[in-house]
Amino acid sequence: MAETAILYDASKCTACKGCQIACKQWNQLPAPLTAEEYEFTKSYQGPLDLDPDTWLLMTFSEVSMDIGVEWNFMRHACFHCTDAACEMACPVGAITHKETGAVVIDQDKCIGCQYCVNNCPFSIPRAKVIGGTDYAKSFKCWQCFDRTSADKDPACVTACPTDALEYGDRAEMVAKAKARVDTLKEQGFDKAEIYGENEVGGMHTIIVAHRGLEAHGLIRDPKVPVATNLLDLAKPLSAVGVGVVVGALGFSFAMGSKYKRGEHSYDEKTDTWTIGEVE
């Protein structure tokens, strides 16, 4: 299977949240049952942030204009980076790339250390304690790998009424996005940009941000955190360290193995120290 990608074209999106609900439905992710568990979010965004049971969230931001506003929407979910910090940080190999490029958490391996939660530059993975246990697991969008591996589009894509979401061959999605950005620029969207083509090694979510990355709340030029790289470096370095130390100690041991020392004694009255003979 070739590398694939979801293409999200913000200029076609009406923020109907169909994708958000479709994600919940296909992946059977619960929402709280009683009124008391909900908070007013002060905007059309609901909930306010991703959570272990919300893998895709439509975000809203407003910029005031003379007449009306610029109301910017974004589909916030895992970008499926090629250089995936979560994968690098996962100590147990539970996070892997599938052949489509989807970055998937294997729940059977996840130990709930939440390193992925803290390493992801986009704060995508979220952990929750699994009911009936004391152990957490991390959750995030997995690009509906169960569907895509059966040759079906991800659930969010199927729900989109305006075709703002598409799924297909990554190269094709990138080409489409580039063409769309060109068109949008001609139509006066000077800041229109593509996102995900090269970021963090290339993402498997390609975005057309017609009002520019910042307006849509996207991080410009995201990087795998320095710390994540350090962590990644820590393993080979520590192997070297262990080698050097063990080697040095071994050498020392060999050199000292012949060492023989006679008995020392001390006469406190005369303050005399007798050095034992060395054989």
Binding site: T14, I21, T34, P47, T162, D163
Partner: protein, 835 residues
Amino acid sequence: MTNHWIDLKNSDVLMAIGVNNAENHPISMKWVTEAKLAGAKFVVVDPRFTRSAAVADLYAPLRSGTDIAFYGGLFNYIMENNLQHDEYVKAYTTASWLVTPDYAFSDGLFSGYDTATAKYAADKATWAYQIESEEQWDTTETGKMAWVNGAGTPAFTTPTIKNAKKDLTLQDPNCVWQLMKAHYSRYTPELVSSITGTPLERLLEVYELYASTGEPGKAGSILYAMGQTQHTYGSQNVRAMAMTQLLLGNMGVAGGGVNALRGESNVQGSTDMAMLFHIIPGYMSSPTSVKHPKLADYLSAETPAGSYWTNKPKFLISLLKELYGDYATVDNDYAYDMLPKYDGSNHSHIAMFEKMYNGEMEGLFCWGQNPAQAGPNCGMERKALEKLKWLVAIDLWETETSIFWSEKANATPADIQTEVFLLPAACHYEKQGEIANSGRWIQWRYKAVEPRQDQKDDLEICTELVLKLKELYAAEGGANPEQITELTWDYLDDAGHADITKVARALNGYTVADNSLVKNFTLLAADGSTACGNWIYSGYWNNNDSNEPADQPTGARNDVDEPGEGLTEPIGSYLGWSFAWPVNRRVIYNRASADPSGKPWNENKILVKWDGTKWLRNDVPDFGFQVVDADGVATPTPPNSTAFIMVPEGAGRFFTPGMADGPFPEHYEPFEAPVENQMSSTQINPAITIYPTAAETRGTADEFPIVMTTFRLTEHWQSGVLTRNLPWLVQTMPKMFVELSRELAEEKSIVSGDNVVIENKRGAITAYAMVTDRVKPFTIGGKTVHQIGTPWHWGYAGVCSIGGSANELSPNVGDANTMIPESKAFLVNIRKQEV
């Protein structure tokens, strides 16, 4: 919709006004987006900046309730600048028709107004055309109307055809064009801007863009919904849209039309089936004891001289044959006497609750309706429910209405004697049947799962009720028992349960003699030989060889868009997908898509085209395009200038006596308005009915200076009884809120997240404040007017989310023609809730 969803893609300019289609009709944006990709412009005119506005090419704010001023200004702009589609206007509209010199208009009042009754004269004598000549129907044996004298056809007085005088130069001061020009010359852009609060420059930008569709070959589509209709002049708003489209030549063309986006999946079906007091199935008037005590009275009064409606007797007799079967004979006037007749007074929702409030009603069936939350002035409606002896609520689960007596409703159960029954109904996945969408497609859908426990599908509940009534009347008799005992109700399967496919057969119609389904309504007769439950549905279930829905037109699912014979490009009609009433026609009045000689205005978007010898068709023609003789040989009918076959004039009407409140739309302020009417001293629509409960609770701008409007969200549906019980949806929009501007919030020391109280004389509700720049104050006549908006999805019943209902505040006053309540513009005050 005169057109249909897919057809939106054919548009050059789409104007959404009084509709928030991206939020409330998300799928519409599929086709709007497609149109935009092809270069179309999308304009949104709305009091609030909505998710539709967010994707619009042009947005114009407009104070809620000032649409007619907006259209008046548009007419003026078009006519002053000669931007109309001239050939279309001359050929297909009543622009050239002469109106009686008695017609007058002065200071907001049209001629014929009676201040004593606060209504216009019923005969509308001063709103009539000048008559050139009169003629009678040709009912001779070889005449077109020979069927009137056929055996079995009941006798009635045939109407007189009155041919109006015309001035094709449009210069006569009494011609419709000149009257209209004079009427709307008062709507200058500056004055309109001062009324609507739309910044002048932006107003003109919208006018310029939309008027550009007047160019021959261009198509403009108007999308609307409750933002247009829920006003005391809502019908005139719709008239104004129709006039706009006639002026610009946008009616009957691909990508044009007046498109009502229906807010409920099957509300189109419910009106088709006449779930309203004033019509019977197929959009025929309900008989009244005043006007039509006997069948002959009905047929004489209701059959127009011209248009396809001249066939109304056929549709009515076929309906009666379905309702009363063999019992209906020519000798008993086809059981017309069995049809309930009302007294001619208003029995709409508002009027009915007024009667209930006054103790004039005993019982009520609330079938999938929730007036205790969704009715206008719903606090008053709950008081009215208390006066009932019994109430049957039929719904998926507990609604505000079914527990109007409870503490949750702030009521004292011990004080309320109404006996309430809640019948659990099956939801749409638990029953089969058809639903009619906004584009009039009647689509069959199958049952997915069985209803749970005691839930029953509505037809089954209805059937049990009818059969029980029949049993009781048969056993006990009573007044006029035949009305029930003779009523046809054989829509049963072998086990005695309701069988909806039998209802479908009845709706389609069949010949009585051999019970064979008719092909379509052109074969219905007025002589008792055919039966048909709803003539407009005729043709949707006409396959005699199968009773399987998939084998019927309504179940057809060919998803390939094929061009008509002789044409190369399809136009999105998908004639093989489902069935659109009437006769599978996708675009109403599609004759107008071509010029009088039959040449399409736009050769790239052909609906019909006369190729010199015959009509090429991408849609089912809405005109007599051929005559088929007894042997089945078709002779094409050459083009003429009649493009509007459903109106007696045969032409698009700029001027009409058909309205209760004036032949032209005129701007009035809402029942409760923040300012005085700048157009005239007639403040509100002079023809509306104001009941005592509405008059008593009317607020003034001094006490309640803030305009409130109500709206819906993508995330919830209607009164919210469904969606507020679905956690997935609640999570996306968890709480009742009010949108208010930064300016108003500062004035009232409110910040986002505060609990605020919104109140007027009808009630008070609390909501969370959502302070946003999407709402901005208007400058009206030099004065700052604040407007707020709340969704009306919340109420006190339900599990996941409860909150104040906006309709505690909306007035129970309605449109002069339809009585639809004015939910979109009324007055309130707002304050921060004391903690």
